[in-house]
Protein backbone atom coordinates (compact mmCIF):
# COMPACT_ATOMS: atom_id res chain seq x y z
CA UNK A 1 0.00 0.00 0.00
CA UNK A 2 1.61 3.28 -1.08
CA UNK A 3 1.81 6.23 1.28
CA UNK A 4 -1.48 8.16 1.50
CA UNK A 5 -2.35 11.58 2.84
CA UNK A 6 -5.28 11.54 5.23
CA UNK A 7 -7.01 14.56 6.73
CA UNK A 8 -8.40 13.98 10.21
CA UNK A 9 -11.03 16.51 11.29
CA UNK A 10 -11.13 15.96 15.06
CA UNK A 11 -11.10 18.34 18.02
CA UNK A 12 -9.62 15.97 20.62
CA UNK A 13 -5.89 16.72 20.36
CA UNK A 14 -4.82 13.72 22.43
CA UNK A 15 -6.73 11.27 20.26
CA UNK A 16 -5.51 12.98 17.09
CA UNK A 17 -1.96 12.61 18.39
CA UNK A 18 -2.35 8.88 19.01
CA UNK A 19 -3.89 8.34 15.59
CA UNK A 20 -1.03 10.28 14.00
CA UNK A 21 1.50 7.89 15.56
CA UNK A 22 -0.37 4.88 14.20
CA UNK A 23 -0.83 6.34 10.72
CA UNK A 24 2.82 7.40 10.50
CA UNK A 25 3.98 3.95 11.58
CA UNK A 26 1.80 2.49 8.84
CA UNK A 27 3.49 4.72 6.28
CA UNK A 28 0.73 7.30 5.86
CA UNK A 29 0.74 11.03 6.48
CA UNK A 30 -1.97 12.34 8.79
CA UNK A 31 -2.97 16.01 8.72
CA UNK A 32 -5.24 17.23 11.50
CA UNK A 33 -7.76 20.04 11.75
CA UNK A 34 -10.16 20.86 14.57
CA UNK A 35 -12.34 23.28 12.61
CA UNK A 36 -13.73 23.90 9.14
CA UNK A 37 -11.35 26.68 8.10
CA UNK A 38 -8.20 24.74 8.99
CA UNK A 39 -9.62 21.72 7.16
CA UNK A 40 -10.24 23.78 4.01
CA UNK A 41 -6.76 25.32 4.23
CA UNK A 42 -5.15 21.87 4.51
CA UNK A 43 -7.20 20.59 1.56
CA UNK A 44 -6.04 23.57 -0.44
CA UNK A 45 -2.35 23.12 0.39
CA UNK A 46 -2.07 19.33 0.11
CA UNK A 47 -3.22 16.41 -2.05
CA UNK A 48 -5.55 14.70 0.39
CA UNK A 49 -6.60 11.14 -0.41
CA UNK A 50 -9.21 10.59 2.30
CA UNK A 51 -10.98 12.53 5.05
CA UNK A 52 -11.60 11.10 8.52
CA UNK A 53 -14.42 13.13 9.99
CA UNK A 54 -15.62 13.58 13.56
CA UNK A 55 -19.23 14.73 13.72
CA UNK A 56 -19.12 16.63 17.02
CA UNK A 57 -16.81 19.61 16.66
CA UNK A 58 -16.76 22.61 19.01
CA UNK A 59 -18.09 25.20 16.59
CA UNK A 60 -19.66 23.14 13.81
CA UNK A 61 -21.48 19.96 13.16
CA UNK A 62 -19.05 17.75 11.23
CA UNK A 63 -21.62 17.29 8.48
CA UNK A 64 -21.76 21.06 7.97
CA UNK A 65 -18.00 20.96 7.45
CA UNK A 66 -18.43 18.11 4.98
CA UNK A 67 -21.13 19.95 3.02
CA UNK A 68 -18.75 22.90 2.80
CA UNK A 69 -15.89 20.68 1.56
CA UNK A 70 -18.20 19.09 -1.02
CA UNK A 71 -19.19 22.52 -2.33
CA UNK A 72 -15.73 22.78 -3.93
CA UNK A 73 -15.59 20.80 -7.16
CA UNK A 74 -11.98 19.65 -6.59
CA UNK A 75 -12.96 17.94 -3.36
CA UNK A 76 -16.30 16.50 -4.29
CA UNK A 77 -15.08 12.97 -4.67
CA UNK A 78 -12.54 12.63 -1.87
CA UNK A 79 -13.71 9.57 0.09
CA UNK A 80 -14.81 10.18 3.66
CA UNK A 81 -14.86 7.87 6.66
CA UNK A 82 -16.88 9.15 9.60
CA UNK A 83 -15.10 8.62 12.93
CA UNK A 84 -17.44 9.67 15.71
CA UNK A 85 -18.60 8.68 19.16
CA UNK A 86 -22.16 9.10 17.91
CA UNK A 87 -23.66 5.95 16.46
CA UNK A 88 -25.36 6.20 13.08
CA UNK A 89 -28.67 5.89 14.91
CA UNK A 90 -27.80 8.73 17.33
CA UNK A 91 -26.62 10.92 14.47
CA UNK A 92 -29.83 10.11 12.56
CA UNK A 93 -27.91 9.44 9.38
CA UNK A 94 -29.57 7.21 6.83
CA UNK A 95 -27.59 5.12 4.32
CA UNK A 96 -28.97 7.41 1.58
CA UNK A 97 -27.55 10.57 3.19
CA UNK A 98 -24.18 8.90 3.77
CA UNK A 99 -24.05 7.68 0.18
CA UNK A 100 -24.94 11.10 -1.21
CA UNK A 101 -21.97 12.56 0.68
CA UNK A 102 -19.62 9.78 -0.51
CA UNK A 103 -19.17 8.52 3.04
CA UNK A 104 -17.53 5.16 2.51
CA UNK A 105 -17.69 3.87 6.07
CA UNK A 106 -18.84 4.86 9.54
CA UNK A 107 -16.72 4.03 12.57
CA UNK A 108 -17.73 4.56 16.19
CA UNK A 109 -14.57 5.81 17.90
CA UNK A 110 -15.16 4.05 21.19
CA UNK A 111 -15.56 0.71 19.39
CA UNK A 112 -12.44 0.71 17.19
CA UNK A 113 -8.73 0.67 17.96
CA UNK A 114 -6.23 2.85 16.06
CA UNK A 115 -5.04 -0.18 14.07
CA UNK A 116 -8.60 -0.84 12.86
CA UNK A 117 -8.98 2.78 11.74
CA UNK A 118 -5.81 2.47 9.64
CA UNK A 119 -7.08 -0.84 8.19
CA UNK A 120 -10.39 0.77 7.25
CA UNK A 121 -8.65 3.68 5.53
CA UNK A 122 -6.39 1.28 3.62
CA UNK A 123 -9.36 -0.81 2.57
CA UNK A 124 -11.29 2.23 1.32
CA UNK A 125 -8.30 3.59 -0.57
CA UNK A 126 -7.50 0.16 -1.92
CA UNK A 127 -10.96 0.12 -3.50
Amino acid sequence: MSKSAVLLIEDNFDLADIYRVKFNQSGHRLYTADNAQTALDLLDENEIDLILLDLMLPRNNGLTVLYEVRSYSDWRRIPVVVLSNLTRRDAKLTPEVLESLHVEDYLVKSEVKPAEIVQTVERVLGN
Binding site: L15, I18, V21, N85, K109, K113, A115
Partner: protein, 240 residues
Protein backbone atom coordinates in the same frame (compact mmCIF):
# COMPACT_ATOMS: atom_id res chain seq x y z
CA UNK B 1 -40.33 12.26 41.84
CA UNK B 2 -42.22 13.86 38.96
CA UNK B 3 -41.82 12.71 35.37
CA UNK B 4 -39.95 15.92 34.59
CA UNK B 5 -37.51 15.37 37.43
CA UNK B 6 -36.98 11.77 36.29
CA UNK B 7 -36.32 12.93 32.73
CA UNK B 8 -33.92 15.60 34.01
CA UNK B 9 -32.03 12.98 36.03
CA UNK B 10 -31.87 10.66 33.04
CA UNK B 11 -30.54 13.51 30.90
CA UNK B 12 -27.78 14.16 33.46
CA UNK B 13 -26.88 10.46 33.39
CA UNK B 14 -26.83 10.45 29.58
CA UNK B 15 -24.72 13.61 29.36
CA UNK B 16 -22.24 12.26 31.89
CA UNK B 17 -22.11 8.89 30.14
CA UNK B 18 -21.46 10.58 26.81
CA UNK B 19 -18.70 12.75 28.31
CA UNK B 20 -16.94 9.65 29.60
CA UNK B 21 -16.61 8.17 26.10
CA UNK B 22 -13.73 10.38 24.92
CA UNK B 23 -11.32 9.84 27.83
CA UNK B 24 -12.11 6.13 27.92
CA UNK B 25 -11.54 5.83 24.18
CA UNK B 26 -8.16 7.51 24.65
CA UNK B 27 -7.15 5.15 27.48
CA UNK B 28 -8.21 2.10 25.47
CA UNK B 29 -6.45 3.33 22.30
CA UNK B 30 -3.16 4.09 24.09
CA UNK B 31 -3.25 0.75 25.93
CA UNK B 32 -3.89 -1.06 22.67
CA UNK B 33 -0.94 0.63 20.97
CA UNK B 34 1.40 0.11 23.93
CA UNK B 35 0.41 -3.57 24.03
CA UNK B 36 1.04 -3.78 20.29
CA UNK B 37 4.59 -2.46 20.92
CA UNK B 38 3.94 0.65 18.85
CA UNK B 39 6.05 2.60 21.36
CA UNK B 40 8.80 0.03 21.85
CA UNK B 41 9.29 -3.57 22.90
CA UNK B 42 7.72 -4.90 26.07
CA UNK B 43 8.14 -7.98 28.20
CA UNK B 44 5.31 -10.50 28.69
CA UNK B 45 4.32 -9.10 32.09
CA UNK B 46 4.02 -5.55 30.72
CA UNK B 47 1.88 -6.77 27.81
CA UNK B 48 -0.33 -8.68 30.21
CA UNK B 49 -0.92 -5.62 32.41
CA UNK B 50 -1.67 -3.47 29.40
CA UNK B 51 -4.17 -6.06 28.22
CA UNK B 52 -5.89 -5.68 31.59
CA UNK B 53 -6.02 -1.89 31.18
CA UNK B 54 -7.44 -2.26 27.69
CA UNK B 55 -10.09 -4.81 28.72
CA UNK B 56 -11.10 -2.75 31.75
CA UNK B 57 -11.46 0.46 29.77
CA UNK B 58 -13.43 -1.45 27.12
CA UNK B 59 -15.66 -2.76 29.89
CA UNK B 60 -16.24 0.79 31.11
CA UNK B 61 -17.10 1.85 27.57
CA UNK B 62 -19.60 -0.98 27.44
CA UNK B 63 -21.12 0.24 30.72
CA UNK B 64 -21.38 3.75 29.29
CA UNK B 65 -23.12 2.36 26.20
CA UNK B 66 -25.56 0.44 28.42
CA UNK B 67 -26.30 3.58 30.46
CA UNK B 68 -27.11 5.48 27.26
CA UNK B 69 -29.31 2.62 26.03
CA UNK B 70 -31.17 2.52 29.34
CA UNK B 71 -31.76 6.26 29.15
CA UNK B 72 -33.16 5.97 25.65
CA UNK B 73 -35.34 3.00 26.56
CA UNK B 74 -36.71 4.62 29.71
CA UNK B 75 -37.50 7.82 27.86
CA UNK B 76 -39.13 5.93 25.00
CA UNK B 77 -36.61 7.39 22.56
CA UNK B 78 -35.52 4.11 21.01
CA UNK B 79 -37.35 2.62 18.04
CA UNK B 80 -36.57 -0.54 16.14
CA UNK B 81 -35.60 -0.52 12.48
CA UNK B 82 -36.93 -3.92 11.48
CA UNK B 83 -35.35 -5.72 8.53
CA UNK B 84 -34.03 -9.22 7.78
CA UNK B 85 -30.92 -9.66 9.92
CA UNK B 86 -28.32 -12.39 9.28
CA UNK B 87 -28.25 -13.41 12.91
CA UNK B 88 -25.57 -16.05 12.56
CA UNK B 89 -23.16 -13.45 11.13
CA UNK B 90 -24.02 -10.97 13.89
CA UNK B 91 -23.43 -13.63 16.55
CA UNK B 92 -20.15 -14.56 14.94
CA UNK B 93 -19.04 -10.91 15.22
CA UNK B 94 -20.13 -10.78 18.87
CA UNK B 95 -18.17 -13.94 19.66
CA UNK B 96 -15.09 -12.48 17.96
CA UNK B 97 -15.39 -9.28 20.03
CA UNK B 98 -15.72 -11.20 23.30
CA UNK B 99 -13.01 -13.76 22.56
CA UNK B 100 -10.16 -11.81 24.25
CA UNK B 101 -12.23 -11.52 27.43
CA UNK B 102 -13.12 -15.22 27.30
CA UNK B 103 -9.51 -16.24 26.72
CA UNK B 104 -8.41 -14.28 29.77
CA UNK B 105 -10.31 -16.78 31.90
CA UNK B 106 -9.69 -19.75 29.61
CA UNK B 107 -13.38 -19.91 28.75
CA UNK B 108 -14.44 -21.27 25.38
CA UNK B 109 -17.36 -19.74 23.48
CA UNK B 110 -18.89 -22.41 21.29
CA UNK B 111 -21.21 -21.09 18.55
CA UNK B 112 -22.95 -23.85 16.59
CA UNK B 113 -25.61 -23.93 13.92
CA UNK B 114 -26.03 -24.28 10.18
CA UNK B 115 -28.44 -22.76 7.64
CA UNK B 116 -29.87 -20.42 10.23
CA UNK B 117 -32.58 -18.21 8.69
CA UNK B 118 -32.45 -14.42 9.04
CA UNK B 119 -34.59 -12.90 11.77
CA UNK B 120 -36.90 -9.92 11.43
CA UNK B 121 -35.22 -7.50 13.78
CA UNK B 122 -33.10 -4.41 14.22
CA UNK B 123 -29.48 -5.36 13.57
CA UNK B 124 -28.09 -3.02 16.25
CA UNK B 125 -30.55 -4.42 18.79
CA UNK B 126 -29.57 -8.00 17.93
CA UNK B 127 -25.92 -7.13 18.46
CA UNK B 128 -26.60 -5.50 21.84
CA UNK B 129 -28.90 -8.32 23.02
CA UNK B 130 -26.45 -11.12 22.35
CA UNK B 131 -23.38 -9.15 23.36
CA UNK B 132 -25.00 -8.56 26.75
CA UNK B 133 -26.16 -12.19 27.11
CA UNK B 134 -22.80 -13.73 26.20
CA UNK B 135 -20.94 -11.13 28.27
CA UNK B 136 -23.18 -12.00 31.20
CA UNK B 137 -22.49 -15.70 30.67
CA UNK B 138 -18.74 -15.06 30.69
CA UNK B 139 -19.08 -13.11 33.93
CA UNK B 140 -20.61 -16.08 35.71
CA UNK B 141 -18.58 -18.83 34.06
CA UNK B 142 -15.78 -20.53 35.96
CA UNK B 143 -12.37 -20.85 34.33
CA UNK B 144 -11.94 -23.54 31.64
CA UNK B 145 -15.70 -23.83 31.18
CA UNK B 146 -17.70 -23.41 27.97
CA UNK B 147 -20.36 -20.89 27.00
CA UNK B 148 -22.58 -22.43 24.34
CA UNK B 149 -24.59 -20.49 21.78
CA UNK B 150 -27.01 -22.54 19.71
CA UNK B 151 -30.27 -22.28 17.81
CA UNK B 152 -33.65 -23.96 17.57
CA UNK B 153 -35.82 -23.26 14.52
CA UNK B 154 -39.60 -23.20 14.69
CA UNK B 155 -41.97 -22.48 11.83
CA UNK B 156 -41.97 -18.71 12.18
CA UNK B 157 -39.49 -18.09 14.98
CA UNK B 158 -35.92 -18.72 15.87
CA UNK B 159 -34.88 -19.36 19.46
CA UNK B 160 -31.27 -18.57 20.31
CA UNK B 161 -29.81 -20.08 23.47
CA UNK B 162 -26.86 -18.85 25.53
CA UNK B 163 -25.84 -21.29 28.24
CA UNK B 164 -23.08 -21.19 30.81
CA UNK B 165 -21.67 -23.57 33.39
CA UNK B 166 -21.74 -21.11 36.28
CA UNK B 167 -23.26 -21.57 39.71
CA UNK B 168 -26.71 -20.47 38.64
CA UNK B 169 -28.78 -17.46 39.60
CA UNK B 170 -30.02 -17.60 43.18
CA UNK B 171 -33.77 -18.24 43.47
CA UNK B 172 -34.29 -15.04 45.49
CA UNK B 173 -32.74 -12.98 42.65
CA UNK B 174 -34.73 -14.63 39.89
CA UNK B 175 -37.54 -12.08 39.99
CA UNK B 176 -35.30 -9.07 39.39
CA UNK B 177 -32.53 -10.22 37.05
CA UNK B 178 -34.16 -8.35 34.18
CA UNK B 179 -34.86 -5.29 36.29
CA UNK B 180 -32.99 -1.98 36.10
CA UNK B 181 -33.42 -1.66 39.85
CA UNK B 182 -31.51 -4.56 41.36
CA UNK B 183 -32.50 -3.73 44.92
CA UNK B 184 -30.53 -4.45 48.08
CA UNK B 185 -28.09 -1.55 47.75
CA UNK B 186 -24.54 -1.56 46.47
CA UNK B 187 -23.43 -4.76 48.25
CA UNK B 188 -26.21 -6.74 46.66
CA UNK B 189 -25.51 -5.08 43.30
CA UNK B 190 -21.89 -6.25 43.49
CA UNK B 191 -22.77 -9.85 44.23
CA UNK B 192 -25.59 -10.03 41.69
CA UNK B 193 -24.13 -7.75 39.11
CA UNK B 194 -26.04 -8.62 35.94
CA UNK B 195 -26.24 -4.85 36.08
CA UNK B 196 -28.11 -3.10 33.32
CA UNK B 197 -27.20 -5.59 30.60
CA UNK B 198 -30.08 -8.00 31.15
CA UNK B 199 -32.58 -5.16 31.62
CA UNK B 200 -31.59 -3.82 28.20
CA UNK B 201 -31.86 -7.35 26.74
CA UNK B 202 -35.43 -7.70 27.93
CA UNK B 203 -36.46 -4.21 26.78
CA UNK B 204 -34.96 -4.60 23.31
CA UNK B 205 -36.33 -8.13 22.81
CA UNK B 206 -39.79 -6.89 23.73
CA UNK B 207 -39.45 -3.96 21.31
CA UNK B 208 -38.77 -6.56 18.60
CA UNK B 209 -41.88 -8.52 19.50
CA UNK B 210 -39.88 -11.42 20.88
CA UNK B 211 -39.45 -12.94 24.32
CA UNK B 212 -36.57 -13.88 26.61
CA UNK B 213 -36.53 -16.78 29.06
CA UNK B 214 -34.05 -18.23 31.51
CA UNK B 215 -33.68 -21.79 32.76
CA UNK B 216 -31.58 -22.32 35.83
CA UNK B 217 -30.00 -25.48 37.06
CA UNK B 218 -27.08 -26.35 39.33
CA UNK B 219 -25.07 -26.83 36.14
CA UNK B 220 -25.59 -23.26 35.00
CA UNK B 221 -27.97 -20.77 33.43
CA UNK B 222 -29.50 -20.95 29.98
CA UNK B 223 -30.97 -17.76 28.56
CA UNK B 224 -32.96 -17.98 25.37
CA UNK B 225 -34.37 -15.33 23.06
CA UNK B 226 -37.11 -15.95 20.53
CA UNK B 227 -37.30 -13.71 17.48
CA UNK B 228 -39.53 -13.83 14.42
CA UNK B 229 -37.96 -15.10 11.23
CA UNK B 230 -38.55 -13.78 7.74
CA UNK B 231 -40.99 -16.63 7.12
CA UNK B 232 -43.32 -14.64 9.34
CA UNK B 233 -42.94 -11.70 6.94
CA UNK B 234 -43.89 -13.95 4.02
CA UNK B 235 -46.92 -15.10 6.00
CA UNK B 236 -48.01 -11.50 6.54
CA UNK B 237 -47.50 -10.66 2.86
CA UNK B 238 -49.57 -13.66 1.78
CA UNK B 239 -52.42 -12.44 3.93
CA UNK B 240 -52.41 -8.90 2.48
Amino acid sequence: MSEEETDANLDVVATTAHELKSPLTLISSIASMLKGEDFGELNAQQKHQLQRIELTSDRLLRLVKNLLNVQQVQQGRITARVEPVPIQAVLSDVVTELKPKAEQNKIEINLTGASIPPVLADQDFVHIIFYNLIDNALKYSPQTSTVKVFFKKAQHNLRVYVSDEGTGIRPRDFGRIFSAQQGGGLLAAKSNSSGLGLYIVRELVELLGGNVNVDISKKGNCFSVSLPTTTQLSLLEDHE
